[in-house]
Every structure is written in structure tokens, then in C-alpha cells.
């Protein structure tokens, strides 16, 4: 488990949903976010897994 801290706000990131847009479509994914400034963190696992699958599905839609 990663211990993630927003450098600007010096607070720990918390789990929150983030909206992603691609080719005119929107999807919502569970991410880590700074509760103060909203800075987002996405893991490579999420990017190469769920997000890539969604991108490819939307490419082909």
C-alpha cells in the first residue's frame, strides 16, 4: 500500500472518484485525491488495466 502525500498541501491523499474523458465519452474511476487541492494520483496498474481497456473500447465504439 502506498503512502501518498500531496506535496503542495502536505496532506495524505484519500480515495475518491475522478471523471475521465475520451472521444466525447466520460467514465468515472476510483482514484486517490488530495482532499484540499484535488490533485489526483493514478497507478500504472489502473492506467494499463481498466483505463486502457476503456480507451480501446471507446476507440472501437
Amino acid at each position: 500500500m502506498r503512502e501518498l502525500i500531496c506535496v503542495r498541501c502536505e496532506v495524505a491523499l484519500v480515495e475518491e472518484k475522478t471523471e475521465l474523458r475520451y472521444l466525447g465519452h466520460s467514465v468515472s474511476v476510483k482514484t486517490m485525491k488530495c482532499p484540499r487541492c484535488g490533485q489526483v494520483w493514478l497507478s500504472e496498474e489502473l492506467v494499463k488495466g481498466q483505463i486502457k481497456e476503456a480507451e480501446m473500447a471507446l476507440d472501437d465504439k
Binding site: 500500500m1 502506498r2 503512502e3 501518498l4 502525500i5 500531496c6 506535496v7 503542495r8 491523499l13 475522478t18 471523471e19 475521465l20 474523458r21 475520451y22 472521444l23 466520460s26 467514465v27 488530495c34 484540499r36 487541492c37 484535488g38 490533485q39 489526483v40 494520483w41 493514478l42 500504472e44 492506467v47 494499463k48 483505463i51 486502457k52 476503456a54 480507451e55 480501446m56 476507440d59 472501437d60 465504439k61
Partner: protein, 806 residues
Amino acid sequence: MTLQGKSWAVMSSISRENRKAYEYFAGTCVHGALPSCSAFCPLNLDMREIVGHVQEGDFTAAYKAYRVKAVFPEIVASVCDEPCKAGCVRKELDQSVSLRRLERACVDFARVKSIPSFNLPPKKGKIIVVGAGLSGLTCAVRLASKSHPVTLYEKSDRIGGRLWDLMDAGVFLPSIMAQLDATACAVRLETQVTCLSDMEHDVVVVATGEGGNTWGLLDGIDPQSFGTEQSGVFVIGNIRGTTPVEDIAQGRIAAFSVEKYLKVGAMDGMPETFRQTHSPLVMDLSRVESGGAVVPKSGEVYDEQEAVAEACRCLLCDCTICAEGCEFFDAVRKMPRQLVSDAVASLNTRSNCGVTRAISSCNLCGLCGKICPQGIDMGQFCSDFRVFKREDGLLPPVFHQFFLDDMRSANEEAYLARPAPTYEQARYVFFPGCQLGASDPRHVESTYHRLLQRISDMGLILGCCGAPAEWAGEIGLRDSVMEGLTAEWERFGRPEFVFACPTCKLQFERHLPDISGVSLYTFLLDAGLSGREESDVHGDSAGREDPGVLGPVGQSAACVFDPCSSRNDKSMQESVRRIAREFGIRLAELTYSGERAQCCGWGGHMAVANLKLQDMIARNRAAACPLPYITYCANCQEVFARCGKASRHILDIVLGLENQEQRPSSLGRRRKNRMIAKRAVLEKEWGVGVVGSGDTSAHEGGRGTLPVAIPQDLLAKMYDELILEDDVYRTIDYCESTGDVVYDASHDLYIGHLRSGVVTYWVEYAKSDQGLVLRNVFFHRMEIVESRSDASVPTSESLIRSDGTP
């Protein structure tokens, strides 16, 4: 006249302005067409499917496929006189496949033979069939199985007609009864029909057999639908002289004709059900091993193993020439007709339906068009459809963004167009193309120097021909690049172009036919410049000895890997071979070379749309021959270097360049190489020093921050994923300068992201006293909808300061 069946070449109405006409693009494709054996069969049995099942030992599936047209499999397997044998292509090689014995094996070894019933609602229209021989029975059971009310009349006291004289009733009666029992067909035995008009009916099928009553209907019978001149009356079977198998074929076709008549009142039948007697397939047997038919141990019928062995002799004739030459068709799981059909359908729905990825997975190399017996060039189709999809806003920009950026870089900061030193105009212009210098700047620098020694007014243009724009469906952008090159041509006094890159040469030939051009390799030969010159030799490999992977003089052997864009350029292909031979290299030919050259995988820029396919193609090309390759396209050379395939660019050999490292340079290094080439020629030939050359990759030190180190393993990953070093530096710069970064305390890493064009880059890096070390980098295309409290969303554009400098 419709366009269907006309070849692409004569279909002048197919142009980008007439999208609908593309429906006929693969109209002449013969993939899936009737094989010759089936064309000889009166039933047009689908032998490819039937024998395919037997090859797998699935006799039940084979039996079911057989019954679709045979109707009474047990009867056909017994009375068939095997006309298919005359059609089997193996007869030229050894012996025809024993299809009747295989059919018999289907009957003998099928585990399940039950006849499915579909519980269809009863249909209107009373049908009478006169005569319960094979043709009448077939027609009756086919119509009854579709819930038509059918009454079958037979004047004698038994069904089967002439079968009683031909085979064992213990075989044919159960077969017929099984079909009759599965339907509600009424049978009236010992009922002589004397006058058709006396009977209440909507349709009559006359199948009275040899010497039977004709009621004067024989004149004017449609030979395909079996309709007579009298509306609602059909005539089939041995009344007109048929074999038993033809009886079944006619009964089945007539059943379809009757159905059409009942629906729309037409007597002309359903063309797709008519008997076909021609197979358009032409099979190449040159690589087929010969060996006679399997002889059954029992003397007459096969056991299961024998049947499978004999089935395996069948070539399952079909045309798959395009798929044998190119992995594309298997990868997208569509043969030409299917791809065309899906692509055209997707134009109407303005959706992708997977089509965009398919058309973006093609190398656009034209091999399929060259080897297809019908000349169907799916590369042309995919190229045109990329334009359509882009026009419709359905081509994902990310598919080509990297390559368009690369083209822009080649045509901006790395661009150079100069007449030779002290000249205003030129008779010739050397145009190396954007990839030659990126791959190895010495190829540009040394070649130009050599050319200048002999041709003092040889000009130079370093830039891109616009092919990446064409491959991205950006025709307007390609044309603007070519307009720029045309303007330079005019400025230089209309010189002849000397092309190092076969793709550039092809693009000029296609789109700028007024500009004459020659390949560098032909030019070097003609000018006597193709030999090794002392002044050009780099390293210790002086003389004619090849220093690299090809081995010592006189013992070296190699294959010339013709680039796909040289397909129609025999002169270029032959020049490269002549040069190689002059260096004592013995040449072997690849199976696919010359006009059948296969693409190395780079063509068409499929890397983003289908990296898996690109990798597979590259590996397959590298493995096509164990000998080293001689290339003359910088992209082919790059692809083979990345695969670890021993290969040399022909210019390495001509110029005596040391063997390049097999490990590929990074993407950033490629852009940097272009700048190095530009700087080198400017300094060497024009004595011009270059300051602030726009070398955007020279960032190892970071921009006023700590240096950023990128480990080798990450450079390799970045190459695969088309991430430039600059993308990394820019993202880290952003993180460091804004503080928009997350600290991973458990790994002591800093993580941040930056939107750049159509992708978002993520970097993970560590900090030390010596500087920054990249630990990971990746990207996604989706855009994060951020709701930061300061409302600043990181994009590369936000890094541009008010004075316009990054």
C-alpha cells in the same frame, strides 16, 4: 449494369467522392467461393465444411453439414457416381480425394442423426407434389419441414421410385421415413393424378419420373428454377433425364422456387440456390506433398482413422493468398469482403464498430493487391477509409499523433533546403528523407559529401515527404507538405531529386509526377560512386571489406530485404543488389521479395492502433531467413535492429561505416540525430556553425533544475510506447516548478503528471544529491477532469511563458 463483379480497376466511379461505391471494392474476391469438387457436384455440397469436420474427427458435425444439401445422406452416399472426382485438384498431383467414401464415413460414424424440428407456424398455400421418387420426395420434405401444407401423390403402392432398382430398401427406406416422420407431409399412395386442374392447389410440382405424365409442360421450363410457363407449376426429376443425385438437387432447388412463388408470385426462383457449375478458385499445388488416396482395409468403406487420414489429404481449397502474404487479415479476423462490408456499414451508422482499429492495423503496403488474383488492394481501401474516418471525426487522434509530431519536427527544426555551396540553383537535389538521418546521421552527411565531390551543384533538402500525414488520413496536411517541396523544386530550378528513401520516391511519383527522381542507389552506380572511397571510410575497415555483420569478403552471404515501398521499382531493387555484389556479398532471395516485398511492420504507422500485430510482423520478417539482411529503407533497418536481427543498411556497406549497435537508439536520440545531421552538413559543406539549433532532446541536464537520468530499461520501454525523453523532462519540469506532485513516502518517490497534446504523461522519480532519476513513466489518452482548488489543470501549453519560451 451493376458494379458487382467488376474489378476495382474498371470501377471508375469508386473514388473518395463516392463513398457508397466502396461497397463493391472487394466484389471480385473469391475467398469462400465454391471449390472445384463442389462445382462438379450436382448438389453443390459444401465439401470444405464437411471434410473440415472429418479432419477433426467430428463425424456428427460433418453428417449434419452433409445433410443440409444431401437431404437423404444415406442415399447419396450410396448412389452417387462421384462427379466430384473430376473436379478435385489433387488429381493433377496424385489421386482425387475419395469424397464419397468420406460421405459414407459421415453416415457410418455420426453419433447423432436426429432431425431438428423448428415448430414453425403453419404457412398458407396448398402444395401438391406428383410422384414419390427421389426428386418429389426431396421437394415435399423440404417444403413440409418449413410448415407448408404438402400432399405427396404416388401412383404405385410404394415410395422411392427407381431407388428400388438401385439399392437396398433397408437403407433408403429408413432414410426417407426419418425425413417424412419429422414433417407433416401427407402421402397418398396408389393415387393416380390424371388432371392437374381437377385438384385443389396453389402449387403443383410434377415429379413423375421417366416416362411419367408431363401434361405438356416440358417446353419452356426454366433450367435453374424449374418453373414452367404455367404459373404455379414446376417440373423436376427424371422425367427430363437425371441421375438420382440430380433428382435430390432439383427437388431442393424447386422447394426454394416454390417458396418464392408463394411469397411474391414469381416463377424465376432464388438465384442463390441455383446450381453452380464453375469454381473461380485456382490452387497452387507447388508446395503440396504428393501421396495416393487412403485404401480402405475392408476393401470398400473407411474406418474412422482411415476417413480422417483421407480427409487430411483434402486441401480444403479456398483462396487465402492475401492472408498467406500478410498477417493483417488473421489479426483483424476479417477477409476482404467482410472488412469492406463492415467498413461500409460503419459509414452509415457513423460509428467505428471495430472498423477503425482494423483499417489502422494495415501497413498500406499494397502486397495483397499484388498477389491477389483479382488485384484487390486492401491497402488502398484502408488508406481511403482512414480519410473517411478522420473526416467523420472517428479516427482516434492518438493513433497518429506521435508520427505527425515527428513529421512536424523533421519539417521545422530539422529542416534544411539549400542549393550546393556557391550555387543558386541545382541540377540535382539529394533528398534523404526524414528517417535516414534519424537512424544514422552519417548516412546523410557522408553520402551528401560523396555526391558533392562528383556533382558540385547537388542541392540538399532535409525534410519529410508527407507520408505520415497520408497514413494518418490527413490528405490536406500531406498536400501542404508537398506544395512546400514543389516550391523548393521551383526555387532550385526544377532539379531531379535523388531519393534515399523508397517511400519518399513513391510519394513523389504518386503526387508530384512533374518532378523527376531517381533512387540514390541507382544514381551512385551510374555516377561510379558506389564503391568504397578512402575518404569515406570510417574506422579500420578500409578497402572493400565489409566491417559488419555480413562476414568477411568472399564468404559473406545475405538477403536483400526489399522495402514494401520499392515494390514497383525494379531499378532501385536491382541497383542495391548490384552494389552488394560489387562488395563480394553473395545474395539469396527471400520468398517475398521484389514486387512481392512484405512490409517490415512500420508502414502505415500501426504502432498505436495495433502494437501486437506490428511486433508479430517484425518478428516474422526477421525470422524469414537466417541470413543477415541488407536493407535500403531506414525504417526496415530500425525495425530489424530492434528485433536483434543481423542487418545492415546498404549505405553502411558503401560508406564503410562501422557496424551500428544492434540495440536501438531511443526516440529522443532519433530526433537528435536529425539535428546532428543538419549541423554536420551545414558545418562541413557550407562552413556554417549552428547556434541554438532547436535540439529539443538535449536536456540531460534539466532546465535549470537538477539533472534527470533515465535508465536504459526505461528507454527501451519508452521506445515501445512512443514516449520521448522530452516528454519526461517536460513533465518533471512541470512537477518541480509548480509543486504539483505527490510524494510516495513508502517508496521515496515523487509522482506527477502533465497533459501534452492528446495524452497525459505520468512520471515517477527519485531525488538525490546527484540529481533526479526516472523510476517509471507511462501515459494514458483519457483526459482527467480535474477540480483543483486553484483551478489549474496541468497541460504542456501551460508551460509556455508569456514571452513564448518554454
